[in-house]
């Protein structure tokens, strides 16, 4: 834990917003922090810190799960670079499940 908090103070620049159904992996936390130069790296990093969280976003083939949408700076990464989307410090990443929109 000590090592974790030390690392946290150094460079945990990317905030990841966690949807309700994945908060079982984060002790109920709505937001966690992680690092990585791409979304794939970030997901691997949060998977180490919060086992189950990073892997829930991907399917068996390592691609984004069909019913998971990940947004970088509000934009769906499927229209950016998918899991290879580059990330920079201070950027916000949101994970949201695909749900029916109101109509």
């Amino acid at each position: 834990m000590e090592r974790e908090s030390l690392r946290e103070s150094e460079s945990m620049a990317i905030e990841v917003r966690v949807p309700t159904m994945l908060r079982t992996h984060t002790d109920g936390a709505k937001k966690v922090h992680g690092e990585g130069e791409t979304l794939r790296e970030l997901l691997a990093d949060v998977e180490r810190r919060y086992p189950g969280l990073g892997s829930a976003v991907l399917d068996e083939g390592g691609k984004l799960h069909r019913f998971m949408n990940v947004y970088v700076d509000d934009e769906d990464v499927r229209f950016l670079g998918g899991v290879e989307t580059p990330l920079s410090d201070g950027i916000e990443v949101s994970i949201l499940p695909a749900v029916a929109g109101g109509s």
């Binding site: 069909r66 019913f67 509000d74 029916a100 929109g101 109101g102 109509s103």
Partner: protein
Amino acid sequence: MLHRDVSGAVGDTPLVRLPNLSPAGYELYLKLEGANPTGSIKDRVARYLLEQAEREGRLHPGSRILEPTSGNTGIALAALCAPKGYKLTCVMPENTSDERRRLLDLYGADIVFSPANEGSNGSVRLARELAEGDPDVFMPFQYGNPANVRAHYETTGAELIADLPEVSALVAGLGTGGTVTGAGRRLKEHNPDVKIFAAEPEYGDLVYGLRNMDEGFIPPIFDAQVLDGRIKVDSLKALRATRELIAAEGIFAGVSTGAAVAVALKVCTPRRLPEGSKVAVISPDGGWKYLSTGAYDPGDLTALAGELEDTLWA
């Protein structure tokens, strides 16, 4: 303009320039779908859904239609069903605004409420369950019916091209996916360089409270291939843009319009669209039906956005 009945008055809505909100170097145009007979873009969809079903011989006077809807589609269907003698049951989340329930009541539609904490997902689930158990009802199912896409391909998209042939981009909200898929497809056939952006409301935690991934839902008619970008908009940004539209342009629109305008402002950068681009934005409805939600009340917008998070998009 003279029409033989109210369904003839669907569509041909105004496209208005937004001279004050347009960022330097870009021109925004807003298509005012609130000008449809029941006040929303869903009049187009309801008309196409019913006409398709009639052509297939699935409807006759006395038939019952059942549809999951958070309001606009239900109201549009109710208005068209009443004179034809069709009965209508709408399955909607229990936290939708009072105006929508009252309008549906007035038109004689029946309402079945689905749990607020399941959002529109819950309405879809419940409507499917109810329809399965009853062979006498017809469910158009806007989320899966190609007539929804066709309505936007043949009318919304065609009107945009007629009014603004030089259009460079379209921004529309994402609910069933009908507007972006239908109008987007039509615009790309007109000019393959046209960019299509979806503005996706960021619902409250309540709506995203799925218990597991199997409950995820992607509307079968939604074609992501048509899109060049999908951008989410939170309640605060949507409310802010909705207010700016009122102050700067004199347009009183619903919060989904604010979300689309917010995305339009975001995509007006040389990285995405060359300067000089004309961007069409769809305003699905006016603000009238949402007055009771408090979305237009005075006070701090940030606090308001927090309070309304779970009801704003219901």
